[in-house]
Symmetry: C2
Subunit: 322 residues, 2 copies
C-alpha cells in the first residue's frame, strides 16, 4: 500500500486531480470541466464523484494521507477561496472545510503559483533550495516566494503578487483595474500585446502580420522567434527587458538563490532567458550580481499543477506531523 | 544580577553600545568615534577598551549573555562585514569571530536596518507582529523585512535592500553607481535633492532659497513644511508619491501587516504619512487595500540602533536556546 496525497488544481477551465506519492510519482489521475459559471455547491458534488471513482479504482493499493489544492485566490490561512477572478463562487467560500467534511483528512489550499513554488521545491528545479521564487507565465503572471524553506504567505495569506507590481504608472490597462502592472507586459497575453504594439510601431515585415489578436498565441510568437522573425525577436527582447528590470527589484527584497520560470514562454529558451538574465544583472545592486540563477521549471512536461498542490499537503503533513 | 546583552551599532561616524535587558531597558552605555579611515585592527582594541570599562563599571549587577551588532553590510550568516561602503575595512572582515575571540559569548551581526526591524519587533511598533517591514530614512533608505516572525536574510544574507529598487531607469544617480534607485528620492538626502529640483522648476518664493546644498538638512525642510512653505510641502508630496508607489510593489511581495517608518523625516508627521499612505493605497492591488498599516517607529527617542542590535542577539538566545 503506497501512501499518497490527492493534489487538486482548480483552473478557470479545467479541474485536474491526481494521487501523488512523496517522490512525485503520480498514480490514478483525472480531469473535469470546472464550469466556471456554476456555483461551488454544484461544483463540489461533481468533484467528489470523480475523486471517489478514482479512489475506488485504486482500491487497497493506496492510502490517502491528505488533500492539497491549488485554486485562484486561495487563502492558505483560512482555507477559503476569496473573490476568485474566473469563478462564479461569490465572495468567500470555505473550500477547505467543505472538502474536509467529505473526506475527513488534512486539507490545505493556496493559489496556483504558490503551489507551483512548493512543487518545484519538492520535485523540481528548486530541490534542496531554501530561498527562491517561481514565476508562472500564463494568461497572467503568478509568483510564489519561498524564504528559508517556507512559502511567504504574508499577514493575510495573499503575499506574492509580483504580476501586479508597477512597470509604468501610465502603462497598459490591467485586468485588475489598474494600469502598468508587470503582467500586462510579461505573460502569454503580455507578449501578444507587445507584438501588436511593435506591429504598430515598425514597418518590418513579419509573419505575425497575418494573425488577428484572437488568433495569435504565445506559442506562435515563440515559433516565429525561433524562426528568426524580427518582430517576434523584438517582442522577446521587450518582454525580457521589463521582466529583468522588475526581477532586480524582487531580488532586492528577498535575495533568492534562484528564480524559476514556468509556462509556455519558457520554451523560447535563450530567446527569453538570455535577455532576461542580462537585464536583471544590469539592474541589480553590486552585492547581488552574478549570484542569482535564472532557471526553467523542471515540472513543465509533468502534471505540474497537480504536483504543486500535492507538495503543499505533503509539506503540511511533514512540518506538522499530521 | 540582571541578564543583559551588549548591543553595538557601528555607524560611519560613531559607534554606540549599551547593555540591554530582555525588556529593552538600557543600562551602562557608551559611544566612541568609529574613525572610518582606520583599519578594523585599530578599531577593535578601542572598542574592547570602552566596553571592558563599561563592564567593570557595572560590576556584578549584570550578567552578559551575548553580543548583537548592527553594522553596514553585515552578513548574518557568515558573521562578516563585506565591503562596507563607509568603512576602510577592506573586502571581508570576520567581525563576529574577532569579537567572539575576545568575549567568548554568543555573537550575531546584521546590517543596521535589519537590526532596526528586530528592535521594533521586540520593543517597538511591531510588538506582536509577525509580518512587517521597517524602512529607515537616513542618508540612504534601509529596510528590514520580517516574514512569519523571522527576518528575511535571503540566500546570501543580504536581503532587504528596498532602497535600491528602481524608480526610474533614467533617474537620479545613486551612490551605488546606478541610476534611479528609490533612496535617491526617498531619504534625508533624497528630499534635499527634490527641494533643489523644485527650486529649479518653480518660481514660488520659499525660505529654502536661502540655503546651499551643504547647509540644507531634512530637518530644515521638515520645519519649513510645518510652517507651510510651498516648496517644502511639494517636496514632501513628491517624496511620498514615490515612496507610496514603491511600497505598493513591496506589499505585493510579502503582504505585511504594517510598514514602519524610522528616521528624522518621520517628524514631519502627516506631511509624510498622509500622502505616502494615499499613494500606497492608490497603487495597490484590490486584495491588499485598506489592510496595511503605515506607522512611525516607537524607538526614535530611544537608543534605537543599540536596541536593534540587542534584539538580534536576544532573538538568537531565545530561538536557539543559547
Amino acid at each position: 500500500m503506497t501512501e499518497v496525497v490527492l493534489g487538486i488544481d482548480i483552473g478557470g477551465t479545467n479541474t485536474k486531480f491526481g494521487f501523488v506519492d512523496a517522490d512525485g510519482n503520480c498514480y490514478e489521475s483525472g480531469s473535469m470541466p470546472t464550469n466556471a459559471n456554476e456555483d461551488v455547491s454544484a461544483f463540489l458534488p461533481r468533484l467528489f464523484e470523480n475523486v471517489d471513482l478514482a479512489i475506488k479504482k485504486s482500491g487497497d493499493s493506496i492510502k490517502l494521507r491528505g488533500i492539497g489544492i491549488g485554486v485562484p485566490n486561495g487563502n492558505y490561512f483560512k482555507g477559503t477561496v476569496e473573490r476568485p477572478p474566473n469563478l462564479k463562487w461569490g465572495t468567500v467560500v470555505n473550500l477547505s472545510a467543505l472538502i474536509k467534511k467529505h473526506y475527513n483528512i488534512p486539507v490545505a489550499l493556496t493559489n496556483d503559483a504558490n503551489a507551483a513554488a512548493l512543487g518545484e521545491m519538492k520535485y523540481g528545479a528548486a530541490k534542496g533550495m531554501k530561498d527562491f521564487i517561481v514565476i508562472t507565465l500564463g494568461t497572467g503572471l503568478g509568483s510564489g516566494i519561498v524564504v528559508n524553506g517556507n512559502l511567504v504567505y504574508g499577514a493575510d495569506g495573499f503575499a506574492g503578487e509580483i504580476g501586479h507590481t508597477l512597470v509604468n504608472v501610465n502603462g497598459r490597462w490591467c485586468g485588475c483595474g489598474r494600469r502598468g502592472c508587470l503582467e500586462t507586459y510579461v505573460s502569454a497575453t503580455g507578449i501578444k500585446r507587445t507584438v501588436y504594439k511593435l506591429l504598430a510601431d515598425y514597418t518590418e515585415s513579419s509573419e505575425l502580420h497575418n494573425y488577428s489578436f484572437n488568433e495569435l498565441t504565445a506559442e506562435m510568437i515563440t515559433e516565429a522567434g525561433l524562426r528568426g522573425d524580427k518582430i517576434a525577436l523584438e517582442a522577446f527582447e521587450y518582454t525580457a527587458r521589463i521582466l529583468g528590470m522588475k526581477l532586480a527589484d524582487t531580488v532586492a527584497h528577498t535575495s533568492p538563490e534562484a528564480i524559476i520560470l514556468f509556462g509556455g514562454l519558457v520554451n523560447a529558451n535563450e530567446l527569453i532567458f538570455t535577455p532576461t538574465l542580462y537585464h536583471m544583472e544590469k539592474n541589480m545592486l553590486a552585492i547581488y550580481k552574478n549570484k542569482v540563477k535564472l532557471l526553467p521549471s523542471k515540472l513543465m512536461n509533468k502534471n505540474a499543477a497537480v504536483l504543486g498542490a500535492s507538495a503543499l499537503i505533503w509539506k503540511e503533513i511533514e512540518d506538522k506531523g499530521l
